[in-house]
Amino acid sequence: MSNIGKAFENGKAFIPFITCGDPDLETTAAVVRAAAANGADLIELGIPFSDPTAEGPVIQGANLRALNGGVTTDKIFDLVRDLRRDVEVPMVFMTYANVVFSYGSERFISTCREIGIDGLILPDVPYEEKEEFLPICRRYGVDLISLIAPTSEDRIAMIAREAEGFLYIVSSLGVTGVRSEIKTDLGAIVETVRQNTDIPCAIGFGISTPEQAAKMAGISDGAIVGSAIVRLIGEHGKDAPEYVGEYVKRMKEALG
């Protein structure tokens, strides 16, 4: 059992996503601290992958910039060690199966535990393949976060029943990225989730405005925002922490 539950104790949760190492790790550290100070309830730290197949152009670009800047898994572990000296909000890694597998799944997940990472989101590991990582995650008390998509339909109950930490509900078809409108009937999905589990659920993909975040958090327990924040960081570079801090504050306030 990790600390993820705490993220949902302070009203509706606001969950920002940040790609580690974009534009550099010093900026990432400052952005994380700014987000935490301004009300982020849970922070998703992206470990970049060369070929992020679930990402749209914005986060793809951030992955590429970070890798070109020489960021590695070990350097990101060091970043988290440093952050954990003063940052208390729950943090999870979001990356791809191969980043964990090639590092040695046990070595990777035991390090997560050691440095204070609460969970792991792997968008290319569906229910059918979770045994690859789940037994190790359980052994080290790191939650393997499950995702539910608009196409999950008859799979929602099965996934929800075994979910840990929180459930990540994907709002729309396609890859990550800002959307003007979210059309999926998320209310029905959340209702099925509620019937099958007590753990919290948050909605992500396509959310950028305070209005969208409030609407999504109204249906569920929280809102996840990735591309809009990564875009801010892309625009402002080393000056991004200030802008991200303001943005997080505005979004958290919108959740009420």
Binding site: T53, A97, N98, V100, S102, Y103, P123, D124, L173
Partner: protein
């Protein structure tokens, strides 16, 4: 060979976003229903025979045999298929299946353009919409195939991300599939990706080894000593191997693109230089760095320029049933020219990798032995690039 979870030993699986899970489950159910349906198989056989021109010839390469002075060499002429490569076998199967499933749109990735052309062809034939993703680098290397796809009514989308080659085209096609599933089938071009693709594609390509077996029994009254094919993702190779896997006496040899050599960083020889990893929906061997970042690979051949290999090949390697050998650009180009001059057959530069390895082993084998080389495609598309490699600029 496949267990219920789509595993080949430790390889294979379904490492894909949740968004696609119901799509691959639906595909598997449809495939399991139709693969034994007499009507489906009758239609597919008619397409193979009347449209694609199957069965393809098993040609005795007498001059090459005499010149090399060893094993008797046969060429399985997949280059003579409609659209000029083995890719049409898989595409006709998948397009027919997609049509039965009520899909109206095909999307595909392509490297050299052969799979893209085949998919565009099947889409035209069956009245389906078609979108092909192709690395921008490859659209330049294979401009003629881009034109062919557009002529056939397909939309070609140049992929600019990453290394702008085959792996990026696969990633982009997967992204597109997650955004539009209900009317769209992803017509994957090789024995790779998530289950059930490696099995479906292998089954449709297995017609190659089924025919080789019948043809060689007819001509020689015995099985060959070796079957040699090139391997990128590995669809023509698995098609050439499949019905011989049970025949322990037949050596199965896959030829990987070594590019400038397996000791250089400019190579695409996955089994020879890669490690086990998880990418593009499957566990298999991949060229990657110590942190699991997928490596940029290189080969003169756009069709073999892929950092992974199909999971069944990874398994055949693990159990020692098939051998995977590296062949460099230089060796492949020499073989390309050799086959043209010796037999009057211009092979695809991909297939030339298999020809090159056969040229190495044939002289060491006895005259009573037999090698079958799969010529997976024809080489017209490669002439400009090979001319450039030899320092000559030609304009098409």
């Amino acid at each position: 060979m496949t267990n219920p979870n789509g595993r080949f030993g430790i390889h294979g699986g379904q490492y894909i976003p949740e968004t696609l899970m119901n799509a691959v489950i639906e595909l598997e159910e449809a495939y399991n229903h139709y693969k034994n349906a007499p009507e489906f198989n009758r239609e597919l056989e008619e397409l193979f025979n009347e449209y694609a021109g199957r069965p393809s010839r098993l040609y005795y390469a007498e001059k090459m045999t005499e010149d090399l002075g060893g094993a008797k060499i046969y060429l399985k002429r997949e280059d003579l298929n409609h659209t000029g490569a083995h890719k049409i076998n898989n595409v006709l199967g998948q397009a027919l299946l997609a049509k039965k499933m009520g899909k109206t749109r095909l999307i595909a990735e392509t490297g050299a353009g052969q799979h893209g052309v085949a998919t565009a062809t099947a889409a035209a034939l069956m009245g389906m919409e078609c979108v092909v993703f192709m690395g921008e680098e490859d659209t330049n290397r294979q401009a003629l195939n881009v034109y062919r796809m557009r002529l056939l009514g397909a939309e070609v989308i140049p992929v600019k991300t990453g290394t702008a080659t085959l792996k990026d085209a696969v990633s982009e096609a997967m992204r597109e599939w997650t955004s539009r599933i209900s009317d769209t089938h992803y017509c994957l071009g090789s024995v790779m990706g998530p289950h059930p693709f490696p099995t479906i594609v292998r089954d449709f390509q297995a017609v190659i080894s089924k025919e080789i077996k019948e043809q060689i029994m007819q001509k020689e009254g015995r099985l060959p000593d070796a079957v040699v094919a090139c391997v990128g993702g590995g669809s023509n190779a698995i098609g050439s191997f499949y019905h011989f896997i049970e025949d322990e006496g037949v050596r199965l040899i896959g030829c990987e693109a070594a590019g400038k050599g397996i000791d250089s960083f400019e190579t695409a020889a996955t089994v020879n230089t890669g490690r086990v990893g998880i990418f593009h929906g499957m566990k298999s061997y991949f060229c990657q760095d110590e942190y699991g970042q997928i490596a940029p690979v290189y080969s003169i051949s756009a069709g073999l320029d892929y950092p992974g290999v199909g999971p069944e090949h990874a398994y055949l390697h693990d159990i020692g049933r098939a051998e995977y050998v590296p062949v460099t650009d230089e060796e492949a180009v020499n073989a390309f020219e050799y086959l043209a001059r010796t037999e009057g057959i211009i092979p695809a530069i991909e297939s030339a990798h298999a020809v090159a390895h056969a040229m190495k082993i044939a002289p060491e084998m006895g005259r009573d032995q037999i090698i079958v080389i799969t010529v997976s495609g024809r080489g017209d598309k490669d002439c400009a690039a090979i001319a450039r490699y030899r320092g000559e600029d030609i304009y098409e």
